[in-house]
């Protein structure tokens, strides 16, 4: 009954422009992301099918180098994505008016992308990994026995590039959303008081908005990193499972898998804790 009533009210007041604001723009992610997911399904399913067919034992770098490689990627890419996300949030929140369609378009996509569970991104990353793992054999070309040396940052460039892209896709929406919330938490009277004294937009940003919102932005960064680490745990497990030689034995492979995943999960939950404590100390 209530739903019906709301619908009725909405219909009664909706002009063409309002319909665009309230219905059309917020529902665009349904189509764009739906099409993207539809296109992505084919390579993903192909890649996942290949797993047992190609028994790839290209190289067997040690687990530590894999872990370092992964940490390196997670840290560098998420830092980049966080910076990009913050810049993007500033642009959306401080420069574009609320009714601007670009802003509505991006915001609705960001909302949907933050809602996607990190496991799904993990599957996407694994499928990229698996589709490139076959070609690695050709690129590297070296027999497994000769390539056990630890060269952490040289190998698997393409592979980690794919992983990096996934991390950007994961980290940026979270950063944009939380930073926007941080910026919104800066009270309007403070901004108005500064503007009324003849401060320029840049001065208001640097002297008031950023100092006030800084702790919350820091918390936003932690939150986004935690998300990246959670997916990294999934990925590193798969890599280790895939790369360590059969000869290592089932139990040691399993232990490595478990150890690495646990380590990254702990990183992730610590970041969430830090996020919570920053957030609480700021609002207190």
């Amino acid at each position: 009954m209530n739903l019906y009533k709301n619908f009725y009210v909405m219909n009664a007041m909706s002009t063409r422009a309002e319909r665009k604001q309230k219905i059309v723009l917020p529902s665009t992610p349904f189509f764009t992301l739906g099409i993207a997911a539809g296109i992505a399904v084919i390579p993903i399913s192909n890649a996942l099918k290949k797993t047992d067919a190609t028994n790839i034992q290209v190289v067997s770098p040690n687990a530590l180098s894999m872990l370092l490689n992964d940490l390196y990627i997670v840290l560098s890419v998420s830092l980049l994505a966080i910076l990009l996300g913050i810049v993007c949030a500033f642009y959306l929140e401080e420069w574009l008016p609320k009714t601007n369609w670009v802003r509505r378009f991006i915001e609705s996509h960001v909302a949907v992308l933050t809602g996607i569970p990190s496991v799904l991104y993990g599957i996407l990353a694994i499928s990229i990994f698996l589709s490139y793992a076959g070609t690695l054999k050709v690129i590297n070309g070296a027999p497994a026995a000769q390539d056990t040396g630890a060269r952490p940052f040289q190998r698997h460039t393409t592979l980690f590039l794919g992983e990096g892209l996934i991390f950007i896709l994961m980290v940026m929406p979270v950063t944009i959303k939380t930073t926007q919330e941080a910026l919104r938490s800066v009270a309007t009277p403070v901004r108005e008081a500064a503007y009324a004294l003849g401060a320029s937009q840049w001065q208001v940003l640097t002297r008031h908005v950023v100092p006030i919102a800084f702790t919350r932005m820091l918390a936003a960064g932690c939150r986004a990193m935690a998300r990246a680490f959670a997916t990294a745990a999934l990925l590193i497990g798969t890599y280790i499972w895939h790369y360590t030689a059969e000869t290592d034995g089932m139990s040691s492979r399993f232990l490595l898998f478990l150890g690495a995943a646990l380590f990254l999960s702990v990183c992730s939950s610590t970041l969430v804790e830090i996020h919570a404590s920053i957030y609480n100390s700021d609002s207190a």
């Binding site: 008016p97 609320k98 009714t99 009277p189 403070v190 901004r191 108005e192 008081a193 500064a194 503007y195 009324a196 004294l197 003849g198 401060a199 320029s200 001065q203 002297r207 008031h208 100092p211 006030i212």
Partner: protein
């Protein structure tokens, strides 16, 4: 007649304002003379704040804000290409609630000079002292300049806001219900200050206390649901109102 025209610092012609589809102000026209206190009275939601915020263009930040008509400041038409930052340096504003920044009393007062590029060496101390003396707060805060303004009373904070606005050296100063949160003693201080400042500045004063407007202003305008019902010398408006609604409001039977 010509000399009168020259003196009017602010002219508003046929000003209409909408928030979305709701019309807030309905074809307002009036002139504000230099070195006078112009008060706008009217009940809540009559559009006083909207009107005064139009003058220093703070309404630009309101989404769905629409306006038609002309605002002339010192003979220049304010439009989309106006440098609002420079304009707001000439037209200061004091809000209903004292909004001081999260820094020391000294830095709060010096803010206006700082954003114009002054550093501590360039007689910033002198500017701060001069303006605090002008509003009569110097003796009270002399020893606590480096502390946060939170320990001050609301009235002192409001006075500090006035000092902060004066540092920018504006020509026009807008007071948007400055005594809305103050007790009677603090209100008297602000009112006395407003009278003193009228010697050097053009003041615009929005209030919903009719007696207050009668005390502080030279010229008054009565706003009622977005319409400027009457505009003229305060004494005449309060003793001999032309419009029925003005009479009802002034005598306390309306609003």
């Amino acid at each position: 007649m010509l000399s009168e025209k020259e003196q009017s610092i602010l002219s508003i012609r046929n000003l209409n304002i909408w928030y979305g589809d709701k019309q807030i102000l309905n074809s307002l026209s009036f002139d504000i003379q230099q070195q006078q206190v112009t008060a706008f009275i009217g009940p809540t939601n009559s559009g006083k704040s909207t009107l005064v915020r139009c003058i220093n263009r703070l309404n630009d930040f309101v989404p769905n804000f629409k306006s038609t008509g002309e605002i002339l400041f010192k003979g220049t038409l304010l439009g989309a290409s106006t440098d609002t930052t420079a304009l707001r340096k000439q037209i200061g504003m004091v809000f209903r609630k004292p909004t001081l920044f999260r820094c020391s009393i000294y830095e709060n007062v010096a803010y206006g000079a700082r954003i114009s590029g002054a550093s501590r060496s360039t007689s910033l101390d002198g500017i701060v002292e001069k303006n605090l003396r002008k509003i009569g707060l110097w003796s009270e805060v002399e020893n606590i300049l480096d502390e946060t303004p939170e320990q001050l009373s609301t009235g002192q904070q409001q006075l500090l806001c006035v000092a902060r606005a004066l540092v920018v050296e504006p020509e026009v100063l807008i007071f948007d219900e400055p005594c809305g949160e103050l007790d009677p003693i603090e209100t008297v201080k602000i009112e006395r200050l407003v009278r003193d400042l009228a010697d050097d500045y053009t003041l615009i004063f929005a209030t919903n206390k009719r007696r207050q407007a009668a005390r502080v202003s030279d010229v008054a305008g009565f706003l009622y649901s977005g319409e400027l019902v009457e505009f003229g010398a305060t004494e005449r408006l309060f003793t001999n109102p032309q419009d029925n609604r003005t009479e009802q409001y002034v005598t306390g039977r309306l609003g």
